[in-house]
């Protein structure tokens, strides 16, 4: 066993990070509206790093994890994972994420199956907690992938999704530790208060476990490691909730952007749980 990240994966992570740069999603100050953070320019910059080819369908999913972590840190659009791993936006429970313009959709099937489908109704934007461009639509199932191909797609998707969840949590914790060190109350930084330290320590534990789980998925033979994905989603949600608690009211103001981690974590967790249920 080795617990250090290889130079090759580090380099790939760096190239993904510089492709993301200081990317920000379209602002959505009016919450409760419909919004889609899909960004073609970002997708092109990522494509130039070899984003999809390097990992999709490959036996070695290191780049999926290295890149997924970076996407999570930046709260980048989830379609970057769905389209690279599954070949199309994801559709489940009568919805597709980033599905407004989709010609084809990736549909999870029982026992780890995967099919491509096409929309048969006009997509209806669904106002949603998160800006993942969710639409309601009917889909007709087209060709089902061979089990081996479906397996490879779900392995890649799971690895990148686990890493994305870990990336969200990693960055939310970094921002929170930074805040706790600089925010002063009762004559000193709140980072010195035992209750704040306990909360941050729990978050750190979760973040480390999430990151290790993400890297462990490189060598995981299962197509959909459902228990890990379900735990990772719930755990990521807890870390982002703790991040808000330690930030206090400043995190509640939209301008700090912390809310993006909190909302995306819950949305990713819910989509992931829906996929796990559909492929059970």
């Amino acid at each position: 066993m080795r617990f250090d990240v290889s130079d090759e994966h580090r380099l790939f992570a760096d190239s993904v990070r510089s492709a993301i740069g200081d990317w920000e999603p379209p602002r959505d100050p009016d919450l409760g509206g419909w919004h889609d953070d899909r960004d073609d320019a970002l997708a092109e910059r990522l494509a130039a790093t070899g984003w999809a080819e390097l990992w999709a369908g490959s036996d070695l999913l290191g780049p999926a994890v290295a890149g997924g972590l970076e996407l999570g840190r930046a709260v980048a659009p989830a379609c970057l994972i769905d389209e690279a791993a599954l070949g199309a936006p994801l559709a489940v429970e009568g919805r597709a994420r980033h599905g407004l313009q989709a010609k084809s959709l990736a549909l999870p099937l029982r026992r780890g199956g995967l099919a491509l489908g096409t929309p048969t109704s006009d997509p209806q934007p669904e106002l949603s907690l998160d800006g993942s461009g969710t639409v309601l639509l009917d889909v007709s199932i087209g060709g089902e992938l061979e089990p081996v191909a479906a397996h490879a797609c779900w392995s890649a998707w799971s690895a990148a999704t686990l890493a994305y969840l870990a990336g969200l949590a990693v960055r939310a914790l970094e921002l929170t530790v930074e805040h706790a060190r600089t925010r002063e109350q009762f004559g000193g930084p709140i980072a010195a208060i035992p209750a704040v330290q306990s909360r941050l320590a729990d978050a750190a534990l979760a973040v480390d476990a999430l990151t290790l789980l993400a890297w462990s998925s490189i060598s995981d033979e299962r197509s959909l490691p459902a228990p890990e994905l379900l735990w990772a989603g719930a755990s990521c949600c807890e870390v982002t909730a703790s991040a808000h608690q330690v930030h206090g009211a400043i995190g509640f103001a939209l301008e700090t952007g912390l809310h993006r981690y909190y909302r995306r974590a819950r949305a990713m967790h819910t989509w992931t749980a829906a996929v796990c249920a559909a492929t059970h």
């Binding site: 100050p29 009016d30 919450l31 409760g32 509206g33 489940v92 429970e93 919805r95 669904e126 106002l127 949603s128 907690l129 998160d130 969710t134 002063e184 109350q185 009762f186 004559g187 208060i193 209750a195 704040v196 949600c237 909730a241 808000h244 608690q245 206090g248 009211a249 995190g251 509640f252 103001a253 939209l254 301008e255 809310h259 909190y262 909302r263 819950r266 949305a267 819910t270 989509w271 749980a273 829906a274 249920a277």
Partner: protein, 383 residues
């Protein structure tokens, strides 16, 4: 003997509140902010506040001659729970009557009460609460906004932040430092002033709950000395009393009860209730406990007994339930639970909004950790 059943009068009062709340539905549906506001107690609406006043619902616990109904705080909590069930936007009501109005009734001079309470009760005068500052959140006693006495006026300089409803309110209730020598809890006073007093500037900004919070800049604001609430330099007592009232969040529990009923109905409609009954049952139990904590705190206020620990428990129980219910509801509903701000969606798209907004409920009005300290120290006597 303990008797926790409602009296016939209380049942009738709740039924009256239910009928009134239903009559406001068209007003609510027409308001886009109402649809995206994830926490009814943070909902801003001057129109609803006016209607509440017109119908005699503001100042329920006050004497009749100042516009009240002479009811108990327990009665008021039962009515507020019903308002919450109908998801009325209650921020201005809660600030103007329950927290600030009740503190003025207790600590204000007879003239101040005479001047302010009747128009508050009519829904014609609304308040916001300027306690927190950029450097004074949990450590409220470190506030630095300052008021200096000049003749029959105070001149106030400072900066308040996170002020709910300041962009709509008519008056502001301010905690300020009035003595340069005394530090921390001593030397704080409470003043009230019309928000259009020269030198007050309000800026609002959007927040995660779906509405706005405000910053209030105070630059040479002249406030009549007669607008002092309580004694000079003894404002900490007034502030703490105000928080005891603020922390009984019966209305929030009513809103959560509506979500829970809707959740159960939706799961039944979609054949999912059978697998979820344990989790729904546990949430119902938690709600029932939180309601009793809230009513117990209101009863202590009615009896004039110390209520700090009881109201901290009431607040914390409601805040925790709000967060747990939002999580559980999304978990049980799946992707449709993420819908947010759409009246045609399951549960009127309230679950996504509750998930956003409830994260603030363990921060506002005293963070969870500060409430735990109050419970440990004032309730359990730990030091």
């Amino acid at each position: 003997m303990m008797d926790l059943a409602f009296t016939d009068e209380q049942v009738a009062l709740r039924s009256e509140a239910h009928t009134f709340s239903e009559s406001l539905r068209p007003l609510l549906v027409a308001d886009p902010e109402w649809q995206r506001q994830g926490m009814l107690s943070d909902g801003d609406s001057k129109e609803v506040t006016r209607e509440l006043g017109r119908a005699g619902w503001i100042g329920m616990t006050w004497r009749r001659d100042i516009g009240g109904r002479g009811l108990s705080h327990v009665d008021a909590a039962l009515v507020e729970d019903m308002f919450g069930y109908h998801w009325l936007p209650l921020s201005l009501y809660l600030l103007s009557y329950k927290t600030i109005g009740c503190a003025i009734e207790r600590f204000g001079s007879p003239e101040l009460k005479e001047r302010l309470l009747p128009p508050i009760a009519r829904g014609e005068l609304t308040f916001c609460q300027g306690f927190s500052e950029p450097g004074a959140g949990s450590d409220l006693a470190s506030l630095t906004s300052r008021a200096v006495r000049r003749g029959n006026r105070f001149v106030v300089h400072g900066h308040k932040i996170w002020t709910s409803s300041a962009w709509l309110a008519d008056w502001i209730y301010l905690a300020v430092r009035t003595s340069s020598r005394a530090t921390r809890h001593r030397g704080i006073s409470v003043l009230v002033a019309p928000i259009d007093t020269p030198g007050i500037e309000v800026r609002r900004f959007p927040v995660l709950g779906g509405g706005y919070l405000c910053e209030v800049f105070l630059d040479g604001v002249e406030v009549e000395a007669a607008n002092l609430v309580g004694e000079l330099g003894r404002g900490w007592e007034v502030v703490m009393h105000t928080l005891d009232f603020e922390r009984i969040t019966a209305e929030k529990l009513g809103g959560l009860a509506w979500i829970l009923d809707g959740l159960e109905r939706r799961l039944a409609e979609t054949d999912r209730l059978e697998q979820a009954w344990r989790r729904i049952g546990a949430l119902r139990g938690e709600l029932a406990g939180a309601r009793l904590l809230s009513l117990r705190a209101a009863d202590l206020l009615d009896r004039g007994e110390p209520a700090a620990a009881a109201s901290a428990m009431a607040k914390l129980a409601g805040a925790r339930l709000a967060q747990r219910l939002a999580r559980e509801a999304i978990d049980l509903l799946g992707l449709e639970g993420l819908s947010d701000g759409d009246l045609t969606a399951p549960l009127e798209g309230r679950v996504g909004g509750l998930y956003r907004a409830s994260i603030g409920s363990t921060i506002s009005g005293g963070s969870a950790e500060i409430l735990q300290i109050v419970i440990a120290r004032r309730g359990l006597g730990l030091r």
